[in-house]
Symmetry: C2
Subunit: 517 residues, 2 copies
């Protein structure tokens, strides 16, 4: 991370300049490579993991997957799968899965226009993503409203500002005032000009995927061919569980894989609705669907980077409403990681909640799911900042809450120095029994950075807290995102590149016209 440290240093200098203009800055953690320092939890035993695998193979070979794309049927047929054209069903056996897993890379990198922010996805690495997809936005000052470009841009600024957010997901909120068939261009432009992070291309059809690939290549000043060897964007293919791949998603997957950009296969599996109510069955079905998409990527381009995606939670059986951050969701997050590791694949998971407002429920559900994602050894934790209302709202205050949770987790995962000096015998010897360590030399040498400094928690005593207005954490969260937007420094971008991006967007809007869905 020496490059990153340099960049972080630069940014700090930028902030110092801004601070000298008078604003108080938020003290956040520096940019850091997050890795899990301990062995992920094995919630299922080895035999149980094998039972899930075995059931998945039965699903793939006996029941099959329905695919709406003739091209996908062609690809699988050529590979020896059993393709029933009339039913649009493809059945594959274990050997085809095993063959594909021979070429899937165990990890890959994602490089944005700032090479110091290159992410390694796989192994012990962990990246946190901005919330993706909500039609609405909310903050405590202006209330709930439809997604729009102004809020979209603010969320990108916040993602760029907070070092705990590593990647931009698929449209943090849809700018609904813009035409549905070309607004992805405006959002890509915002990602590339307001931040220097990698981002997620919308893979509904090949066109949107290609636009993301082309625009990231422009921003990096490289060709699409060069980017095929050094990927810069990612996408997620959501399976329409149970066992259905739609046409547009298949086209997006193919475009990304052909161009060497990583694809995540994520079955959207809410137990009781899209899968059986039992966790082992939900995981077996999720696993079958994920493996199917993973095989497809390798048939399109052997060695194409691909990630094992999991999004298994449950519904409320009384209402059918989706629930997130539940015990079932947390367990699924952990065991899905065991499955991904069985296949030596990078693992995408998430840490979502079902609360309608930024309240205790939002906090404890997110906390539960985050721990599930971390204990599962998640390599990419998607929707990690800003998700509210079951994914229907991107929330400013929730983003602040989430950055606090993510920073806490980063500190928990940070390796501990056990040198003799840190073991502190001499320091302990220097303080008399019943005394205190505030003034010890060992303390004074370290006190500034000894402990994590929260961005949201308030540790003042009750009297001082009350005297300062008795502000709860939600009220403080509003002040934090407002301050973060003031602190935000737009990353420099070569004017020629900016011009080229603008020209690309204008040209593509013309080309698309009223076409493309």
């Amino acid at each position: 991370m020496s490059d990153a440290e340099v960049t972080s240093e630069k940014r700090t200098s930028g902030r110092r300049a801004k601070a000298s203009r008078g604003a108080a800055q938020i003290s956040q953690l520096p940019l850091r490579d997050v890795t899990i320092s301990f062995a992920p939890v094995e919630l299922a035993g080895p035999d149980q993991v094998e039972a899930i695998h075995r059931t998945s193979i039965r699903i793939l070979s006996e029941l099959g997957i329905r695919v709406m794309s003739a091209r996908v049927m062609d690809i699988f047929e050529a590979a020896g799968a059993i393709v029933e054209r009339a039913e649009k069903t493809i059945r594959i056996d274990e050997s085809l899965v095993a063959e594909a897993l021979k070429t899937t890379p165990p990890s890959f990198t994602l490089t944005s226009r700032n090479p110091a922010k290159r992410l390694t996805i796989g192994g012990r690495h962990m990246a946190f993503g901005l919330v993706a997809g909500p039609p609405n936005v909310h903050d405590c000052v202006n209330g709930r409203r439809s997604g729009n470009l102004k809020d979209y841009e603010n969320f990108i600024r916040l993602a760029h500002h907070f070092n705990a957010i590593h990647i931009i997901g698929n449209q943090v909120t849809a700018p609904q005032e813009l035409p549905a068939n070309n607004r992805h261009l405006d959002t890509y432009r915002a990602n590339l000009t307001l931040s220097d992070l990698s981002f997620h291309c919308t893979a509904i059809g090949g066109g949107r995927a290609m636009d993301g690939i082309n625009m990231m290549a422009i921003a990096r000043g490289i060709s699409v061919e060069e980017m095929a060897k050094d990927p810069g964007v990612i996408t997620i293919i959501s399976v329409n569980s149970p066992r259905l791949f739609d046409d547009a998603m298949a086209e997006g997957l193919i475009a990304m894989a052909e161009h060497g950009q990583p694809v995540t296969i994520t079955p959207f599996t809410l137990m009781g609705a899209m899968t059986p109510v039992t966790l082992p069955a939900a995981l077996a079905q999720q696993n079958a669907e994920a493996l199917f998409g993973i095989v497809l990527t390798q048939l399109v381009k052997p060695g194409a980077p691909v990630m094992y995606g999991a999004f298994t939670s449950n519904v409320d059986m009384r209402s059918g409403a989706p629930a997130f951050g539940t015990p079932e969701n947390t367990k699924a997050n952990i065991i899905s990681g065991q499955l991904a590791r069985r296949y030596r694949l990078p693992y995408r998971t998430s840490n979502t909640n079902a609360s309608n407002t930024v309240d205790l429920q939002a906090a404890y559900e997110t906390g539960m799911a985050t721990w599930g994602a971390v204990l599962g050894g998640g390599n990419m934790i998607y929707h990690a900042a800003g998700w509210l209302e079951g994914g229907l709202t991107a929330s400013y205050e929730k983003l602040v809450l989430d950055v606090e949770i993510l920073q806490n987790m980063m500190e928990i995962l940070r390796p501990i120095d056990f040198s003799e000096d840190e073991l502190g015998f001499d320091a302990i010897a220097s303080v008399p029994t019943g005394g205190h360590f505030f003034g010890a030399a060992h303390t004074l040498a370290r006190y500034e950075n000894a402990f994590y400094r929260p961005i949201l928690s308030d540790w003042t005593n009750y009297g001082a807290w009350e005297a300062a207005g008795a502000k709860d954490a939600l009220t403080r969260a509003t002040a934090v995102w407002q301050q973060a937007l003031r602190d935000y420094d737009e990353p420099a971008l070569d004017p020629a590149i900016r011009e080229e991006l603008d020209a690309y967007v204008a040209r593509r809007k013309q080309e698309i016209g009223d076409g493309e869905p």
Copy 2:
């Protein structure tokens, strides 16, 4: 747990009777033996655990512990320790520690007046305790106020009512309107009449400890000698870190150990104040202090049940204020479990927070600390329900939040059935691609108990939630504790035993008079 299930069944019947009188009941998890189903996390490597141990032994043998009790000095001197009478310092070497660890039991039981609620403390078992010690209480209806017997009794009712709370800690709040030297008698009586749980005796001096032992023996209808073989109460000895044991605590420890009742040795170690700022040093000091107390229990009575206690968190270095639920606290909770397992001792930890109000901070700090306690394999998680404001307030709404967090954790820890039927191949085969499982036979056979039902989370959609008054989780928590107090059934108690308890309290108050501190 067959006995417990019977009892649970009985309680359910009791509730049904009450429900027929018209009140809607809270649907909570049944009484359950909570065990951790996976290997606890190893955050420190084996060499690092040994480095902590080695440093602790140096602290004990080179620096020693200061003890204010002549009796304790006599005991250690007789065992071969180096006792400096003038400095009141005792130094012990590793052999004395090793000798003590030969007789410490790896687990023990705690039996209350309801044998179905017998707790096993040790191994993979996990018990959750009510908050202990706050001088204040708070609820959102009546605000913040000084501790008093009425609130004390309500908290005992809530602890009895919620199956996720297994044990009553030391005075959930001090009833400050009662005389300080005898109010422990009123609180013990409340514990024994309003609940059927085991509880914690105040071990400030031998008198309070003996009162707890005597009263539990009365409630169980057995002699103190019988209870020595089948313990019923527990205490915690808080070390005055760094390296100081006061007289009253030593007397309490001795009284409990002599009578076969379990003792927990918990150094109160806030990094930066009572220990150095570095985590390895804090753990080394905590470990030395805990081992010292553990040796003392075995010198008093070889084989006496004893628990390794940890309460290591940090202070805010800018203000000196204590902080809880921090990354440092979470890490300490995990590594302390590794130390306890190294010594084959049951492990007491806690899951606290520093928030001044029941807000996002209270939720995420508690969530972090709870995961640390669970991943550390905590056998007793103290202060698990109701702790607020750094331990200065017992909160009704926080208790509800905590029960929700604890119930979530109980469900995450519940072993998963991986039988063929649960793997659900036939169920998956029965639903067409793109269909849903709501009506599947596999679903219908299980839907009622398929998923955890929260007591606090609201999973309705935004429109329905808004129409129902847009109540956030804190508002709902108030309704939950109010309902729980309405649902509460006082456990039956033989009138003769009640009379005997009353007589004991009256006699002891007379005896104590203006004496005893």
